[in-house]
C-alpha cells in the first residue's frame, strides 16, 4: 500500500498512490495512514483521486483511520472518483466526513 505525505499551506496531505482500497489492502492502508500522520496536530487531508475502487473493507479502513486521529484531529477527504463517491453516499458516510471535490477546494476551506 503506497501512500505519500506532504504539507501544503500548513495542511498535512496524505495521497493514496494505489487504485484500490479493498479487503486485501485495508489493513495495510490503516497502518500506513497511522504511520504517516503520527505526531501531528492538525486536520489531515486524505487525497483519494488515484483510487478508482473501494469496497466496504476499504471504507471501514478509512473510518478506522479517522477514529485513530480523533478526538483531537479530523480526517477530511478530497478527490473522490465516482465509484468511491458512490460507496460513501450509499452508506451515508459522506455525511460524516468533510468531502471536497479537489485538494485545492479542501485547502481553501481548511485555511479559513
Amino acid at each position: 500500500m503506497e501512500l505519500t505525505s506532504s504539507t501544503e499551506r500548513g495542511v498535512p496531505i496524505v495521497t493514496v498512490q494505489e487504485q484500490r482500497i479493498d479487503a486485501a489492502a485495508a489493513l495495510a492502508f490503516k497502518d500506513r495512514v497511522r504511520d504517516v500522520t503520527e505526531g501531528g496536530q492538525d486536520t489531515v487531508l486524505l487525497d483519494l483521486n488515484h483510487v478508482v475502487f473501494i469496497d466496504s473493507s476499504g471504507l471501514g479502513a478509512i473510518v478506522a483511520s479517522m477514529k485513530i486521529l480523533s478526538p483531537k484531529r479530523r480526517l477530511v477527504l478530497a478527490g473522490l472518483t465516482p465509484a468511491v463517491d458512490k460507496v460513501f453516499r450509499l452508506t451515508r458516510m459522506d455525511s460524516v466526513f468533510g468531502v471536497f471535490a479537489t485538494v485545492e477546494a479542501a485547502l481553501n476551506e481548511l485555511q479559513e
Binding site: R20, D22, A23, A24, F53, D55, S56, S57, L59, G60, A61, V63, A64, M66, K67, S70, P71, P82, A83, K86, V87, L90, T91, R92, M93, S95, V96
Partner: protein, 148 residues
Amino acid sequence: MGRRPPLPLFSISLLGVEDAVREGIAQTLAWLTPLELSEDETNTVQLVLAEALNNVVEHALAGTGGQTTVEIRGHHGASGLDLCIVDKGIAMPDGVVPRLPAPDVTVDVADLPDGGFGWFLIHTLAQDVTYVRRGKHNYLTLRLAVAL
C-alpha cells in the same frame, strides 16, 4: 439500439483466499466485455462481487488457507446479469441471507461503525438475493440490473 450478441454462460474459479478476490473480479469483468457496461454498471458488478466474495473467504472459508476454490457463475439475459457464487465452506448462519439495516452513522466518531456494510451494499445494488445450501455447497445467487 443494436441487439447484443448473447453472452455465453461463464464460470470462473478462484482460490478461496482474500488475495485472489481481485483476480476473480478482473476475470469476471473480462468476460463481461461484450456487454459494454457503463462505468457505473462496471462498478456495481465489482462492488457486489467484492462484497460477496469477501464474505465467502472471510467467513465460509475462514481457516481453510486457500485449500478450496470459489466459483463465480454468470449468465446475462433480458432481466440483467445473473450471478451465482458457489463454495464448499461452512453454511451461512441460520441458513439465510443476512438482511440487516445499514449501520447507523449518526453517532459520535468514536462509535462509528467500521464494518457491517457488506450485506447492506449487496441488497442495495442487487435484486433477488438468495442463498441455498445443497449438500456440502453454498450457493448465493443474485441479479444485477445491468446492460438491460
